[in-house]
């Protein structure tokens, strides 16, 4: 069907076939380079650094790690350092200096199972406050890490004793408009979305959208909470208006399939 002039057109600049499973890809901030993170066929982790040259991608660097890597972020590092934080299949959180990738700058076995999602805040000159990294894992916990503090997370959202756990599929930071305020939103496979306030260290809001939550993201993490989008299984997505919270009904939302 011919697309009308009103529909936005996607322009494809480069297409590249890869020979391994890619789980995540991120632009390297302030550069024409991008990273692909994934798992090679033999079960090891792979980080590939590409540079965009006109109409093609040139592979600059390939780094292999013992465990497959599921997700990565540049969100918590400064613009000069540009360290990459990754979560792998074993539950390890590592921060790498890509110039010297043999030894991680920071490493911790944060979770008992695969880290499904990772997000960073406070870096790249965006927003204020301490740099922090949040990881969500299949073991049902969401942990917030500060790269200056080794081994223990600064916040840990775990199920109550004896409660059966649900996989956490996605995490996102938000509301980081000054040094104290921070909010973490987590989506789980049973449709739960939970909003944790890190300033008061409490659960601020939770809801269930009836389908496993694939991804959550704030429109901008360095301003007062504005809009939160949550996508789910069965092709549905919900947009919540986070500016006003009703004491019992929570946040207003629209949803579409």
């Amino acid at each position: 069907a011919a697309a009308g002039p009103e529909r936005p057109q996607v322009v494809s600049h480069v297409q590249q076939a890869l020979s391994y499973t890619v789980f995540d890809c991120k632009w390297v901030p302030r550069s024409a380079r991008l990273l692909c993170l994934g798992s090679a066929a033999r079960g090891t982790g792979l980080v590939q650094l590409y540079e965009l040259h006109g109409a093609r991608l040139e592979l600059l660097r390939e780094i292999e790690k013992p465990k497959p890597i599921k997700c990565g972020t540049f969100g918590a590092t400064s613009l000069q350092q540009r360290y990459l934080a990754t979560g792998d299949f074993d539950g390890n959180l590592n921060i790498w200096n890509l110039e010297a990738p043999e030894i991680p700058v920071y490493s911790v076995k944060g979770h008992k199972e695969i880290i499904n999602s990772i997000d960073g805040v406070g870096g790249l000159g965006i927003g204020e406050g301490a740099p922090e990294i949040v990881t969500g894992s299949r073991d049902g916990t969401v942990k917030v890490w500060d790269p200056r503090q080794n081994d223990t997370p600064v916040a840990n959202m775990e199920p109550v004793q004896g409660e059966s756990k649900r996989d956490c599929w996605t995490v996102a930071f938000g509301n980081a408009y000054n040094q104290e305020e921070r909010v973490v939103c987590a989506g789980y496979d049973n449709g739960d979305i939970k909003l944790f306030d890190l300033k008061t260290m409490s659960l601020r809001w939770e809801t269930n959208i009836k389908n496993g939550v694939c991804s959550v993201e704030f429109d901008r993490k360095d301003i007062n909470m504005n809009k939160l989008v949550a996508t789910s299984l069965e092709g549905k997505f919900h947009v919540f208006d986070m500016r006003t919270q009703h004491p019992t009904k929570g946040f207003a939302s629209v949803s579409e399939k």
């Binding site: 301490a130 922090e132 600064v154 959202m157 775990e158 109550v160 049973n190 449709g191």
Partner: protein, 421 residues
């Protein structure tokens, strides 16, 4: 016999003939005019007018106007010439007949040709329309592709430009740094010279290290400043979380919820049944709790003639699984043998209920159920109900002779009782 119309009037020019035909009050329709090259007929029952024309005319272009109680023909001659009269004078019957037939045939052929020509033109029009739309769509697609291509090249150029700027910027920065360093070294050198002059001891080595350390401390200092601007790491805390309960380990999907509910329901049912009889079933062996095994046991006992034992076995099987129609069916047979007729009727009815989708697969079972219920009715002397069941059985299985015979017997019985009463 049609009435011939003779009162026509005509006049002619070199190329055309104008014929006016009064209709004496009758109404004409376009269908009543038949015209071919040399033959013209107007048939408005009961009036009839026909003319074999003096010379051939062009019948496709000639026109006829119907109105005001007469028809006005404008006939264009094939050959411009003056006609002596409208019609040919000496026309005998046979010639007329032939002429008529030819005219009809020719008209038919012409009609056929016309339809063919129309079909062809229609097809051509369709093809043309299709090609035109395809061209338009193609043009649209190309336009969008061109836009995309333009955008792509523009962005690629911008990217290259930006990269170049970054490189130049870096170069510039490194040059600047060197310049700054020189500037730093200058005053330090001056101080060193002063010191040297003061103390007179050459301390180049220390000055060098001092140089290095000052430079190093410069950067460390700047970093410390930055770190102090960042707040300290948060005090560690734990937030306890409760999840919306979910039985299945898989992710929640709306489309699966119905299935999952059903499955859970069935599991709950099964568990309840097993648990409710737990006290009495404790001393039973594992196989004795299996409804199928119990059904087989019952069948064997029935075959051996132990009807009470069979009933017991079926009872237990029904308690464990009350939705197997065969259990009720077989229990009905036992009750028949035991002459528990009411119970037999109940059980065959329940069996029929469970066999509700009447498919070819459960034909046998349904026939048996009907027969057993019918027998029970008859033994209770409710012959009409019994006959109903036998007829239902016959309907399902018309080839069974036994059922037919029994049905006949019952009919006779009914007729006999009716006659006698």
């Amino acid at each position: 016999m049609p009435v011939w119309l003779r009162e026509h009037s005509w006049r002619q020019t070199l190329t055309a003939v104008y014929l006016s035909l009064p209709l004496r009050g009758a109404r004409a329709t376009p269908g009543s005019i038949f015209c071919s090259e040399q033959y013209l007929k107007v048939s408005v029952p009961p009036f009839l007018f026909e003319a074999v024309l003096y010379a051939p005319i062009d019948d496709t272009n000639s026109t006829a106007k119907i109105g005001n109680g007469n028809i006005f023909f404008t006939l264009y001659k094939k050959e411009p010439a003056l006609w002596d009269s409208l019609t040919l004078a000496n026309t005998d019957k046979e010639k007329l007949q032939n002429l008529r037939e030819n005219a009809v045939l020719k008209a038919q052929e012409k009609a056929k040709e016309e339809t063919e020509a129309r079909k062809i033109t229609k097809q051509e029009h369709k093809k043309y329309a299709l090609e035109a739309t395809m061209k338009v769509e193609e043009a649209e697609r190309k336009r969008i592709e061109d836009l995309k291509e333009k955008e792509r090249t523009k962005v690629a150029k911008e990217l290259e430009l930006w990269k170049k700027q970054q490189k130049d910027g870096d170069k510039y920065k490194s040059i600047q740094k060197k310049g700054e360093l020189h500037q730093e070294i200058e005053p330090l050198k001056e101080r060193k010279n002063e010191k040297m002059n003061k103390t007179g001891i050459p301390n180049e080595g220390t000055s060098k290290t001092r140089l290095k350390s000052t430079k190093g401390s410069c950067s460390i200092f700047s970093q410390n400043l930055k770190e102090e601007q960042l707040p300290a790491p948060r005090a560690a805390a734990t937030i306890k979380v409760n999840f919306t309960p979910r039985v299945f380990p898989t992710a929640l999907r709306e489309s699966r919820v119905a299935e999952e509910e059903e499955w859970l329901h069935k599991q709950a049912e099964a568990r309840r049944i097993i648990n409710s009889d737990l006290a009495e079933l404790e001393d039973l062996k594992e196989e004795e709790k299996n409804p199928d095994w119990l059904k087989d046991k019952g069948n064997k006992m029935f075959a051996m003639g132990d009807y009470l034992g069979a009933v017991n076995a079926y009872n237990l099987a029904v308690r464990l699984n009350n939705s197997l129609p065969l259990l009720y069916l077989n229990r009905a047979a036992c009750h028949l043998k035991l002459r528990n007729l009411h119970k037999a009727i109940q059980d065959s009815s329940k069996a029929l209920e469970l066999l509700t989708p009447p498919v070819p697969d459960n034909e046998n079972a349904r026939v048996k159920a009907h027969v057993r219920r019918g027998t029970a009715f008859c033994q209770l002397e409710l012959y009409t109900e019994g006959l109903e069941d036998y007829e239902a059985a016959l309907k399902i299985d018309p080839t069974n002779k036994n059922i037919e015979k029994d049905a006949e017997k019952i009919r006779h019985l009914i007729q006999g009782t009716m006659q006698s009463s």
